[in-house]
Symmetry: C2
Subunit: 344 residues, 2 copies
DNA sequence: GTGAAAGCGCTAACAC
DNA sequence: GTGTTAGCGCTTTCAC
């Protein structure tokens, strides 16, 4: 960006000002042993008064530990990811780490590109948030890249995806989906439709598995439940809801596979003057911050996103285990005002 | 984090594999002149096939241009900031830049700390998003730090704050606030209350200035308008609304100074069974993604957050001007369903 | 307990 | 057009 950068303060300047060698200055500042306490304290005082901050690049190049981590998300503007990022940034700040965030837009190629960038930056750890893809071949290059990174001493943790062979924070998508489905069945709904994101996403696949289990357990045939696939977004939810209303007019409940879609569903129903939950019940998944403030407030499944972000970074900061660790995270049904028994 | 990192691929390895010197290899990869086309192409091919990625630290240390920027936000979980971040990350990816994001939690001390961290990381540019503080003394250390950074060749741009003497993207908070106030006055509201964040924030101060101007222009005394100060969050909005309802029961409109607070206001009104906009109208500010999907959908002022993030990074990437540049950004009133004439 | 000196991987003069 | 080499600022043996 800029080459002609004026001289910044160097360790040498601090050392001179304190009347010691740069070796001693280095040890003093990093808290390494082998320096007498008074000397170390003096050096630190001088450094502070001068406003010295060590050059991370030089430090890293000289073999110092990496103080930075990378976070890969699909889209930081999405509340699901921004809440994860928020939790992760919190522990990052606590640990004195810098966090590089990158977008992938659910594009495997861009994901790979961003991964390479993080590797080039020699981050100490990489956290990947967001659903993986059911088709393993699409992830093969990313997997290879991550393995090389790990062989070189880097640490990796993922949130909500499996098949990558690394430490993982795994929300209970299956169980959570089972519990919303059960909730609707308990209320008496039998004509339910599902608004789903791409089934190529493992998150979606897992949630559908949970739904199927609940329906089957209730003695119902899940094959009779219409699944309408659209973008895993608000707009997708709107589109899916419209298709559901047109093609399956008798439906009494729409089960959206994330809150974003559910918000779109609510909006489509409102536009058609269909009352929720009077005529149609609606459920979401994730419990983003706004879910409780919608009208009607959304019945959904809570995933502790902030905590998931924290856990993932904590996992990545730990020494690697012999085998990949798994941190299961509970998914808790939150019943609010968007669900009620079907109309009589 | 990890010191015992196995050997990664170095430029030397690529040079040897391609049968050239490291200087030639360096030039080939950076696209510098002085290498014959066939040689440069061969080197690049070898590098790609080997999966070589240059070590950013070494490159930066050797005086290469910095390929990373820092983004400072109050709270990444807040949609206002995550939408800004999303726009900024977009151009970052396009430009091949890595973006380090940090949280400050509206705490000047943490802000300073994070700024130091970015400086230590030798980012090429720093973008600061989020309101500044009215009291300049609280920002003096940050300002000094930024000036030192600029003297050393770093670039700085801010979003939505002045007084820092750097390039700035400035949303029209004053004009936007004027237009919502005008909208309510046009509808016939005369008993309006304001739910505001801390008046120590320049954003809040500017928006209040806009309100005052509109009221004054309409021949009303702004001193009669109750201003209830609370956290600039959903919870703050809820608290402010409750206080407004208790202390100023005759109010026909609540003007919240951001969408987050407005969402809290809506929720408090709903809890008390007060219809919006039948009994009370509500307005927000920012137009976060969810504003249009609330029930009732929120009348608010649109700020193009994503674009603001983009613009700020673009400013920061430009050569510095003789004087700080300003990119004013329009604030557009968006009338939706949460406002109506006051009850008769 | 402290200092001198050898790199870390790369870029940018400077030779050839 | 290509190679040689001197650093960038730091950590870390290795002497003292």
């Amino acid at each position: 960006m800029h080459k002609e950068r004026a001289t910044a303060l160097r360790l040498k300047d601090v050392a001179e000002a304190a009347g010691v060698s740069i070796a001693t200055a280095s040890r003093s500042l990093s808290g390494a042993p082998g320096v007498s306490v008074p000397v170390a304290e003096r050096v630190r005082a001088v450094a502070t008064s001068l406003g010295y901050v060590a050059n991370v690049h030089a430090r890293s190049l000289a073999g110092g530990p990496s103080r930075s981590v990378g976070l890969v998300v699909h889209e930081i503007g999405d509340p699901y990811f921004s809440e994860i990022a928020s939790g992760l940034l919190g522990v990052g700040a606590r640990e004195g780490l810098t966090v590089q965030i990158c977008h992938t837009g659910r594009d495997p190629e861009r994901e790979l590109e961003q991964l390479r960038m993080l590797v080039a930056n020699r981050v100490g750890a990489i956290v990947i948030a967001g659903s993986g893809l059911v088709d393993p071949s699409l992830q093969a290059p990313a997997k290879a890249e991550l393995q090389a990174f790990q062989r070189a001493g880097g640490r990796v943790a993922v949130i909500g995806r499996h098949h990558l062979g690394v430490d993982a924070v795994l929300p209970d998508n299956t169980g959570g989906a089972g519990s919303v489905a059960q909730h609707l069945l308990d209320l008496g709904h039998r004509r339910v439709a599902v608004a789903t994101g791409s089934r190529g996403l493992t998150t979606v696949a897992d949630r559908i598995t949970g739904l199927e289990a609940a329906f089957t357990a209730a003695g119902l045939d899940f094959a009779d439940v219409p699944l309408v696939e659209a973008d895993f977004t608000r707009a997708g939810g709107k589109a899916a809801a419209e298709e559901i209303l047109d093609r399956h007019p008798g439906v009494t409940a729409v089960l959206a596979l994330n809150d974003d879609m559910a918000i779109g569903v609510l909006s489509a129903l409102r536009a058609r003057g269909i009352s929720v939950p009077g005529q149609v019940s609606v459920t979401g998944f994730d419990d983003v911050a706004v879910a409780g403030d919608l009208a009607p407030s959304l019945t959904t499944v809570r995933l502790p996103m902030g905590e998931m972000g924290e856990q993932a970074l904590l996992l990545a900061l730990k020494e690697p285990g012999a085998r990949p660790r798994r941190r299961p995270v509970g998914a808790e049904l939150v019943v609010r005002d968007s669900t009620a028994p079907p109309p009589a």
